[in-house]
Symmetry: C2
Subunit: 327 residues, 2 copies
């Protein structure tokens, strides 16, 4: 039988996943000791985030291990993106019922692909027997004082979203058998949106000094805008006609469903952010640089909460409900 | 019903647990945004560790929540101790089947007591529904280049252990009903050894510049010495007559059992470390400063593996087996 140390050596200390002193210069010590050791470059702050993914809650039971690994790292990197930070390194706390080699091999392969893509090596963590859960904790670097915060939305700011939220929500309906009749291309698009969300790292970094508040959308556009409104002590109005709609949604769903998915489904990991109207050109230039569409979807004003405005300018009674773990 | 945000605000953002700008000066941003932000003081490196505790594997099902919280933080702080680092801050990934307020209240209380004691605030993490697991990830600070590593044991070094390992192993037997007839004092001593192990932070810090290799004992003295021997590419010989034995062990168990517990039981979180014979006085002074007994239990030589030497100087056929998750 494989021991914990065998598994780590075989699947997690490989080139491309573990830190390479030549490539990852701030990582002074990686996997294998009681702690990892990092040197933070002068003038930088370290940004930290941690997310635990539970089988059957955050991803379907029996989901492909390589995709689960990629999703687990991506949702953490998305938190770095939302701060305008660049990836530095990550830790993994993996609990699994048994040491099944095919699963571990696929998981390690998926994780390695993402670690390479985002230049974010694995520096430690632990492995134990238990129900399948993946705890990932990431470190990022950001020039001191430039991190994007949720609390910086100001009355008069425009509100933006990147990409086209809602595809991951439809993907989950597909995985759960509630969406049928997809073409192979549509299936591939949805699976990728759900399992391989693209953390908007370049956009986040490009928005430093331009955006007011920023945050990623993990639990639903309206629910996450509500959180931003609370932290910034402002009101956010969303213009329903300006919500960007993915073609795959409009082709597969009625308009009510399309708006429900775009406004309340989670898991897309797009960025929401605000900026003063005077920064509009800079916002669009940042988006172009990052190679991602951004849409102005609303406005910040004095007050509190989030409202959705319909085509005639009236507030819609749209539930803001997104994903809540304990509600 | 409480939402995730309600729970965090009520149980985890309280004074004493969340970072206080006046007390925790490197913590620029704590709980509530996409990431926490840290400024690392010049000349310091950051030490990172992460451990996941699973109900029924790392602590008994139904264990008191305040003690589980304290144990979860302590085992992570022990990794900082083994590097000679001081606590900086930690993150928590908590998954639990339901939001039971009495449990959360006790858990938060235990965590707060330890956060205060070790000056280590909670700066973020997440909370989700799932089987009960506690993922903790800690940050520590250590002067650049002075961290204690597992790989620095050298032939000729003496081998030391702090405290009296084995009590946590007996505690587990007591919890599992395999040890009876304890006095209230003995019960209290064992419960404290298991649930509230004292991370040897002061000792670790005092050993910087004195010790060769250092490591904490999580899975058993011999198994963890074996890991040190592997990383340092040396042989470690343990003199059985020099193993420090806790009174509570010798009063409750036969000598075979006492040595089995002292040599192979995990969960004590004592430090093992090596030092050149010329450093003996400095080692004892460091231990005195830290207020903890240390015992010289063996010697490092060329070769590999770990051997236990009996009273007549012959190697004992003692199994090194400690706790292995997947063996």
């Amino acid at each position: 039988m494989l021991t914990e140390f065998d598994i780590i050596a075989k699947y997690f200390q490989q080139g491309g996943l573990a830190a390479d002193p030549a490539l990852h210069r701030g990582v002074m010590l990686g996997i294998g000791d009681d702690c990892a050791l990092l040197s933070v470059p002068r003038g930088k702050q370290i940004a930290l985030s941690m997310d635990v993914l539970v089988e059957g809650v955050h991803f379907p039971a029996g989901a492909p291990a390589d995709l689960v690994a990629q999703r687990a790292l991506a949702v953490n990197l998305s938190d770095l993106a939302a701060m305008g930070a660049e990836p530095f390194c990550f830790m993994l706390g993996l609990t699994l019922p048994q040491a099944e080699e095919a699963w571990l091999d696929a998981f390690g392969r998926g994780l390695r692909a993402s670690a390479l893509k985002y230049k974010c090596p694995l520096v430690g963590g632990n492995l134990a027997r238990g129900p399948l859960q993946i705890a990932i904790q990431v470190q990022g670097l950001v020039p001191a004082g430039t991190a994007l915060l949720r609390s910086k939305a100001r009355p008069g700011h425009d509100v933006y979203v990147s990409g086209e939220p809602g595809r991951a929500g439809l993907a989950l309906e597909y995985i759960q058998g509630r969406c049928t009749g997809l073409t192979p291309e549509q299936e591939a698009e949805l699976m990728s949106a759900y399992y391989q969300p693209e953390p908007r790292l370049q956009l986040g970094q490009a928005l430093r000094g331009i955006a007011g508040a920023a945050q990623d959308v993990s639990d639903g556009l309206l629910l996450d805008l509500e959180r931003m409104a609370v932290q910034s002590k402002v009101r956010i109005s969303v213009d329903i006609a300006s919500i960007p709609l993915a073609g795959v949604l409009t082709r597969l769903r009625t308009s009510t469903d399309v708006f429900r998915l775009a406004l309340t489904a989670g898991d897309d990991y797009e960025l929401i952010f605000t900026a003063a109207p005077s920064k509009k050109r800079a916002v669009l230039a940042a988006a172009k640089k990052a190679g991602i569409r951004v849409s102005c979807i609303g406005k910040v004003s004095k007050g509190e909460g989030v409202e959705v405005i319909d085509l005639s300018g009236r507030p819609l009674a749209f539930s803001r409900a997104g994903y809540e773990h304990f509600a």
